[in-house]
């Protein structure tokens, strides 16, 4: 056996909920510089995953970076230089998924942007990227905008079909919210930033909470029988089934949003006007197709095909690689995604994967692998 045992080096950072994870049986591992729960005693990845799809799961995502972007005028005008999304046109209290771009159109990070008002945007970026992102924003547009890192806030995600009924008991405003909208709400004297969003393929919320109040708030949610802590293991299998990218695996600085099959993040006005980092390359790929594309991969049989597995055409030519793969508990079988040469990207294309020296069949599959449950109406 190998990989079975992982120990956490002592230098990892702790979120404000660390002690609560330990108390509730969290098995802690190092992730993005933080000591985080990968799963919980008595549950495990499989049960935690299925719990989110059937009830409500609570995730500690406090390791992610939260920041406010402000300016004398609309900070979106400046942010649009480094992201391809329409942020100027984002209405107050709406949230949009976008990507931070380098000068070659490569993805520095993927992030959520919420407009609070005409002078303030709220950003949530990946844990492993936050220092890099904030330095990049400072370098590129620091003269025009101010970035305030919210180091004293925790972030919780409550995901699953019971998320609304649970959260509404504490925060009645949660009930009427639509997918990708946000609001501020005061609860027991604490200001919470609430958005109807998440990264599991389920309906749910992300709730930014002052660090000092986070354990008490998490305990309130965990007090409802529908809610259980969910670790990073299930977070990964949930987002993979939902066809969502994990930065550093499915996205990186050598990959454009077109190659990543994220052309929907570039709204019409931005396609027409350009004016963002790497626009020439990205808009060119939009017209003429990139060399490679991110696709879903469905392995035949039961063997998971994991990150790094080579993909070959039916006639044995190497045409791609898996960037995320594993077992999908809701699919009840292996699921994966990866990059293939564009000629092999059509859904249903038969491929082979080189698994431990043996070629095994798989095929290009439509993403997501599950039907998402977002509250769109």
């Amino acid at each position: 056996m190998e990989n079975a045992v992982q120990k956490t080096p002592p230098e990892h950072l702790k979120t404000p909920l660390w002690a609560l994870h330990k108390e509730m049986g969290g098995k802690m591992v190092g992730f993005a510089g933080y000591d985080m729960p990968v799963q919980y005693d008595g549950m495990g990845v499989l049960k935690e995953h299925l719990h989110v799809r059937s009830a409500a799961g609570l995730f500690d995502v406090s390791h992610m970076g939260q920041a406010l972007l402000t300016a004398a005028a609309d900070p979106a005008v400046f942010l649009e230089k480094i992201v391809p999304g329409d942020i100027v046109g984002l209405e107050p209290w709406k949230t949009r998924y976008t990507v931070l771009l380098n000068d070659d159109g490569g993805i520095i990070d993927d992030l959520m942007v919420t407009r609070w008002n005409d002078k303030t945007l709220f950003l949530i970026v990946n844990a492993a990227c936050k220092d890099k992102d904030f330095a990049y924003i400072q370098k590129k547009i620091g003269g025009q905008v101010k970035l305030h890192y919210l180091a004293d806030r925790a972030l919780l995600a409550l995901q699953g079909p019971k998320a609304e009924s649970v959260l509404t008991r504490l925060l009645p405003v949660a009930a009427g919210m639509k997918f990708m909208t946000a609001t501020k709400v005061t609860y027991e004297g604490h200001e919470l930033y609430l958005s109807r969003s998440g990264y599991s393929g389920e309906d749910g919320y992300e709730i930014s909470v002052p660090s000092s109040f986070a354990p008490a708030f998490a305990k309130k949610l965990l007090g409802y029988s529908e809610v259980k802590w969910i670790g990073l293991g299930a977070r990964d299998s949930l987002r993979l089934e939902a066809g969502l990218c994990l930065y550093g695996h499915d996205l990186d600085e050598q990959t454009t949003p077109i190659e990543a099959n994220l052309k929907w993040v570039i709204q019409k006005r931005r396609r027409e006007e350009g004016g963002f980092c790497g626009a020439e390359k990205i808009l060119g790929q939009l017209k003429n197709n990139p060399r490679r594309l991110r696709v879903g991969i469905k392995p035949e049989g039961r063997a998971p095909m994991r990150e790094g597995t080579e993909l070959l055409s039916a006639d044995g030519k190497k045409i791609g690689i898996i960037t995320s793969g594993g077992f999908g508990p809701s699919v009840d079988g292996p699921v994966a995604m990866g990059y293939v040469e564009t000629a092999f990207a059509a859904t249903g294309t038969r491929l082979q994967a080189l698994l431990r020296g043996v070629l095994r069949p798989c095929e290009v599959a439509a993403l997501p692998f599950i039907k998402p449950n977002y509250r769109k109406d």
Binding site: M1, E2, N3, A4, V5, V38, Q39, G44, V45, L46, K47, H49, G233, A234, S237, R302, A303, P304, R306, G326, F327, P329, P334, R356
Partner: protein, 124 residues
Amino acid sequence: MTKIFFSEDHEYVRIDGAIGTVGISDYAQKALGDVVYVELPKIGDKLVQGGQAGVVESVKSASEVYSPVSGEVFEINTALTGDPAQINQDPLGKGWFYKIKISNENELAALKNETAYNAYIQSL
């Protein structure tokens, strides 16, 4: 009279005369988490001590299984293919992987008895 020995890689071999039944320890199945896929050796495979005998995968990760003893595989637990969760539920019983004709009993000296293994996992 059967005896059980463990490797530091967390495989066990239960000895009955010249026959060994191989699986992974309770500690290993707990560390792995929910097993969703298993690859067993083939009947007739000649395995060497410490060499790869199979693969066990949880939702989280894939791990190689190394044979704790050398010998020839003569039976495999085909029930695991359809129900790999048996490895979690009963690792030392129904969750066995394969049976092997042990070719060199002296190799057992390199393994730990149950008491020594329990002390070893306490130290991890």
